[in-house]
């Protein structure tokens, strides 16, 4: 299944205005990702990894080149089509979790399903399944303020996975976690990747994450410096 290319990036450049000139965050990226990959986009701050993730997530558009996600070119999507792509096929995990503070754990995980218009009984079962994947079924009535960092990120994983997306984009998911929690959530994500065949892309410079991914793409100055597959024992 990994041979099915669901992300195709060719000649991708992204410029941002800066003063009277411009800053080039991505400078000619060529990459493809297959279904079920567990890959890390690795690089220091400012190397362009978050920008690349944002474009793959159709939250931003290329300045030059193309990014085709599940057969849809990000640069030519209408806002509604772009939103529809994110709603059905993409999951996001953020460094700061970005949970809705006024919602319970259950309501946070339920949110993507509400947007999809799934009926309540099916929705409930899907939420409970997702919370079981991350081991938080006992916290469904808690609010984010009552959770630890590790628990919050596990809720965020459940929220990203509940709709069974094709691709999950995780931007520095362990940056705010201690080592034990980092390993816990990475193991959870690796398990979901294997069981559900979901493609996981990480933007990270955390050695712990790098130790888990099966493909490492090193970015430097907006270019792919190295792209290597990890040989697994």
């Amino acid at each position: 299944m990994e041979n099915e290319k669901i992300i195709k990036i060719e000649g991708l450049k992204k410029h941002f205005p800066m003063g009277t000139g411009r800053f080039t965050a991505l400078n000619g990226i060529d990459l493809t990702f297959g279904r079920g990959e567990f890959a890390g986009i690795i690089g220091p701050s400012g190397s362009g990894k978050t920008t690349l993730l944002n474009i793959i997530g159709s939250l931003d558009v290329p300045s030059e080149g193309s990014a085709v996600i599940l057969g849809q070119s990000v640069g030519s999507l209408t806002p509604a089509a772009s939103a529809a792509l994110r709603k059905s096929q993409l999951g996001f995990i953020f460094q700061t979790y970005n949970l809705f503070q006024v919602y319970t754990v259950f309501e946070n995980v339920e949110f993507p399903l509400l947007l999809q218009g799934i009926d309540s009984s099916r929705r409930r079962q899907m939420v409970l399944d997702a919370l079981e994947w991350v081991g938080l079924t006992d916290k469904i009535k808690s609010r984010p303020a009552q959770l630890s960092g590790g628990e919050s990120q596990r809720v965020a994983i459940a929220r990203a996975m509940v709709k069974r997306p094709a691709i999950v984009l995780a931007d520095e998911p362990t940056a705010n976690l201690d080592a034990a929690n980092s390993h816990h959530i990475l193991q959870t994500m690796e398990k979901l990747n294997r069981e559900l065949d979901t493609t996981f892309l990480f933007a990270t410079h955390d050695e712990k994450v790098i130790g888990y991914v099966r493909r490492k793409i090193f970015l430097a100055d907006g270019k792919v410096a190295k792209d290597e597959l990890v040989i697994q024992n």
């Binding site: 792509l85 709603k87 006024v102 509400l114």
Partner: protein, 390 residues
């Protein structure tokens, strides 16, 4: 439906912040409705009392009569038309003869309007039966306002001077037979009421009158030579004008309350959009369009007014109903306002007033919710996700 569900969930989840806004907004609702209801009640009471005490079904005026020009009183009188003459005590007509005069209470001189009316009339509520007095004295009734300004009370005698139809001055002592209480200053202030026949005799104008007050149940007003018919609406036009000018005050209070409501919601919206940037970015990342997020925030703001209407109903309905039934005590002497005001005013809350207020506040809060929410449409979601928008 989804936006409604999410908006309600967000609002209720925000807890105290929401309820503080809702309480302020509900206060605005109640004050707006209470103020307008009180003014409406005042207006109705003023019109009702003027009809009962002065206007009845309408009035025929002698064609030369001008109530704003006392000089016309000399000539503005004529014989009561044949079909109305001699109908003492019935409810169809009450002729009134009007002239100028002077009284001398406690040695002071005071100009008055002298009005003669049939003691047996049943057309207006003026308690004229007190004018049926014994031989040899001239009974008079005055209102409480007149009694206060002259220092006269029941049983007092006072000199009244007048000019008859030939221009001859004459004077006599009158006796205050009764002091009546009314909320209608135009039958009270500066006026002395005498028996019609006595005044006709004093003025040398037997069988004559200046105006003819028609009964409330008079079906049609025949055309009469030398008499102009004034309908109830014509006669209420002055009070309608006063009500209109008074309603300007109501509009100012209404505007201030609306402004309070607007500020509460606007302030919350501006703060929300600044404080909830990451949430906005997350909504977009999860598949909402920016238009949907604008709609969600607008609905959240607008729903403050829906919750406020519900909260306001909880404490406002009993409060306003109690006031409507028991009335509101007016501590001031209201005659200086230029419009009659009872000691208690009974506010009137119509369905239109309540529905109109709720709808207006809902529309206004929707607009002030949408206004700052438009900014979301221009937000870059990647910047919003990092909370970097200033």
């Amino acid at each position: 439906m989804l936006a409604f569900k999410l908006a309600l969930r967000n609002l209720l989840g925000a807890g105290l912040r929401t309820w503080l806004n809702v309480i302020v907004l509900s206060f605005s609702f109640i004050v707006i409705i209470w103020t307008k209801g009180l003014l409406e009640g005042w207006d109705r009471q003023a019109k009702h009392d003027m009809i009962s005490w002065e206007i009845a079904g309408g009035q025929y005026w002698h064609h030369l009569f001008d109530p704003y020009d006392p000089f016309t009183l000399t000539d503005s009188h004529g014989t009561v038309p044949q079909q109305f003459a001699g109908q003492s005590g019935d409810t169809s007509i009450a002729p009134v003869l009007i002239t100028q005069g002077t009284i001398y209470p406690q040695g002071r001189m005071q100009s008055v309007i002298i009005k003669g009316i049939d003691p047996d009339q049943n057309v207006i509520e003026l308690p004229t039966s007190a004018l049926s007095a014994g031989e040899g004295e001239i009974p008079a009734i005055i209102g409480e306002g007149m009694a206060t300004s002259t220092g006269l009370k029941k049983g007092d005698n006072v000199i009244l001077r007048w000019r008859d139809r030939n221009g001859t001055f004459d004077a006599s002592e009158i006796t205050i037979a009764s002091v009546f209480k009314t909320t209608v200053p135009t039958v009270d202030v500066g006026q002395v009421w005498l028996p019609l026949e006595k005044l006709q005799e004093m003025m040398l104008m037997p069988g004559e009158a200046t105006i003819l007050i028609t009964g409330k149940d008079m079906s049609s007003a025949p055309v009469l030579d030398d008499w102009i018919y004034k309908t109830r609406e014509d006669l209420l036009s002055d009070v309608e004008m006063i009500i209109k000018s008074k309603s300007a005050i109501g509009i100012i209070i209404w505007g201030i309350m609306l402004l309070m409501a607007m500020l509460a919601v606007f302030d919350t919206q501006v703060l929300s959009i600044f404080r909830r940037q990451k949430e906005i970015g997350t909504y977009v990342a999860m598949g909402m369009t920016r238009g949907q997020v604008v709609g969600l925030f607008t609905l959240e703001g607008a729903m403050h007014s829906v919750l406020a209407a519900l909260v306001g109903a909880v404490y406002g309905i009993p409060l306003l109903m109690t006031q409507s039934a028991r009335g509101v005590a007016i501590p001031l002497n209201s005659s200086d306002f230029g419009i009659s005001m009872a000691e208690r005013l009974y506010p009137v809350y119509s369905l239109g007033l309540i529905a109109g207020t709720v709808l207006t506040v809902f529309i206004v809060t929707s607009i002030v919710s949408y206004w700052p929410a438009r900014k979301i449409a221009k937000m870059n979601p990647t910047e919003a996700l990092r909370g970097r928008i200033q």
